[in-house]
Symmetry: C2
Amino acid sequence: MHRDAMKIGDLAWATGTKVVTIRYYERIGLLPTPERSAGNYRSYGRAALDRLRFIRRCRDLGFPLDQVRELLDLASDVERPCGEVDAIAAARLAEVERKIIDLQALAQELRRISATCNGGGTISNCRILEAIAPD
Amino acid sequence: MHRDAMKIGDLAWATGTKVVTIRYYERIGLLPTPERSAGNYRSYGRAALDRLRFIRRCRDLGFPLDQVRELLDLASDVERPCGEVDAIAAARLAEVERKIIDLQALAQELRRISATCNGGGTISNCRILEAIAPD
DNA sequence: TCTACGGTCTATAGCTGCTATAGGGTCAAG
DNA sequence: CTTGACCCTATAGCAGCTATAGACCGTAGA
């Protein structure tokens, strides 16, 4: 139909998304139901490509799907204040920073545990297991 | 029966685990099926307490359940070399370190994105959305 | 023209690690 | 003897996909 019509596989390839995932996004209403070809194949245009790219980028940034949805809703309403978008991004940043701290503590702990390994011993004198076990 | 017999709620309290989670662990074979009281209540002793504490500690350290299972199996076979345990811990550490790097890059990106916010504007001139959108 | 092969279709079940709900039974205190 | 806190089983749900089965479509080679 349109000159830039894509089948689902093309869209998948162009966005690095799996075909089943695209259908999943459609099912949960994150992507609109596309037109169908004569043979009942989904047919996508530029808008779907942009929207899916945006979604995937958000996912890469770690936004959960409902926040992606929220960002898409916000983006579609040009009158809404930009601050709402910033708030979402800032909250996400805070979350990520918290997670980094947690993981750093965890890494420290794992290093401590690993350091108790006595090379060639057997489980019977393995101090790692003791180290993992709580006091 | 035994002097240290605990009901599931006691065990939950002692380990900071939810009752349903304990039953779940039992169902998936991570905890052995306990004895039952006259009224068909689960009855736990010291061994279950230790085992569950170990499981929870592993979970806190971020080990997925199948690795926890593996560690428990290893721990029960005193002849096995300690190195196997160390390998699991080391792999987990590498994973955590990788994750930290990823999240640091992510935080950087989110900071960049957030920095493009033009204070009181509206979505129509929101540069955050542009920043999220891929080139 | 036939046929083989790759892509697509729907529908359903599975994954991890729990959590929630319904609809009951048990037990000790008051 | 009733109330309330606990316990029981069984089932369904959550995120965010992924996998499978069984069928259809479209095109390129023989």
